[in-house]
């Protein structure tokens, strides 16, 4: 696979071989199927659909599959009741938003065998869809912590005597492929964001002094206020 960013035209091209295209399509379709399971058919009538959506008797159960739960997390793991209420109100929209990104990505794969050329909107959908694919793969292969990732994705997953099956190795290689792809698309998207105001950021990319810069975001200080002069949150409170 080759990735060719074209920032001047605001596009990024993906040049895939047939097997790669098949793999990516299958991964996206698998996550789509996972998200679609148990999703009731929407009513044709928009009003009925809205009412059904808000029906307090309509049960929305917390996913038992850890991978699906990671895609549709609790709003507050310390408060099951509020999480259930939040899930009832939002889970359907969240599933549909994720399915929408996957559909856009799958649709653009139809351009094959020509290089798949993505504009920013489509690349955005790819980024989100690949995130969900990677979350599911990670869940399936047991990447639950940074330490797991280092062990399983390092040079030798068998280090410290860990058993890694052939299936797990296959999943890990898919994870690495989709990670690589997402890294490039994300960098393309980051590069295309508008520059910060110079008076706010001062063009200073140096991260070295961050822990000691003593600003308002000191962790756990109690009085920290994320609504800095640069954010749009000032009018939210």
């Amino acid at each position: 696979m080759r990735i060719i960013p074209d920032p001047n035209r605001g596009r990024i091209a993906l040049q895939m071989e047939d097997p790669e295209q098949t793999i990516i399509t299958t991964l996206l379709a698998d996550v789509s199927q996972l998200l679609s399971a148990d999703l009731p058919e929407p009513d044709d009538d928009p009003f009925l659909r809205l009412v059904g959506h808000l029906d307090p008797d309509q049960e929305v159960t917390r996913p038992r599959d850890p991978a699906l739960l990671r895609l549709l997390p609790d709003a507050d793991s310390s408060d099951p009741q509020r999480s259930a209420e939040y899930r009832r109100l939002t889970e359907r929209d969240l599933r549909e938003s994720k399915l929408h990104s996957i559909r856009i990505a799958l649709h653009s794969l139809g351009q094959h065998p020509a290089p798949i050329s993505l504009d920013r909107d489509t690349a955005h959908a790819w980024m989100r869809a690949l995130t969900d694919v990677r979350l599911v793969l990670a869940s399936r292969v047991g990447i639950a912590s940074d330490e797991d990732a280092v062990r399983l994705l390092g040079d030798d997953p068998h280090a410290d005597g860990a058993e890694v099956s052939e299936t797990e190795e296959a999943i890990l290689s898919l994870y690495e492929l989709t990670t690589w792809l997402q890294e490039h698309i994300t960098q393309f998207m980051l590069d295309g964001l508008p520059d910060d105001g110079e008076d706010l950021d001062d063009g200073d990319d140096d991260l070295g002094d961050l822990p000691g810069d003593g600003d308002e975001d000191a962790h756990g200080a109690g009085g920290d206020d994320p609504r800095g002069p640069d954010g749009p949150l000032g009018d939210r409170g």
Binding site: R70, L71, L72, P73, D74, A75, D76, S77, S78, D79, Y86, T90, D93, L94, S97, K98, M127, R128, T131, D132, L135, A138, I143, A144, S145, D146, D148, A149, T179, Q182, E183, T186, Q187, M189, L190, L193, D196, G197, L200, D201, D204, D205, L207, L210, D215, D217, H219, G220, G222, D224, D225, P226, R227, G228, D230, G231, P232, L233, R236, G237
Partner: protein, 105 residues
């Protein structure tokens, strides 16, 4: 919404003000670390969704990465639930709660 000055002198008080104390309880959105999301992607999300500068987005991203969590926004419960839903849409692991619920959030 805050109580209006001189409300005691008004013959017909604005009853809408009754809800003010509830709305004033601040909530927070916390993004939690996970081993999957790329640092560049988390930075992108913070810049795109919250409109944070590159510097601020990176600082919050590093806080998530190194300390396991970062408070990324504060505001009304409604707004925080909206922010959490957006974070979940991006695939980030996020929660929201009243800000005085826990010292670490």
């Amino acid at each position: 919404m805050t109580e209006q000055e001189g409300a005691t002198a008004v013959a017909e008080p604005d009853v809408r003000g009754v809800t003010a104390p509830v709305r004033d309880v601040p909530w927070v959105t916390v993004v939690l670390n996970d081993p999957v999301n790329l640092m560049s992607y988390v930075e992108f999300v913070f810049r795109e969704y919250f409109g944070y500068t590159r510097e601020k987005a990176r600082r919050l991203m590093l806080e998530v990465h190194e300390r396991g969590r970062s408070r990324v926004s504060t505001g009304s419960r409604e707004q925080m639930e909206k922010d959490v839903q957006a974070m979940h849409g991006y695939g980030l692991w996020a929660e929201c709660r009243p800000s005085d619920d826990r010292g670490d959030a």
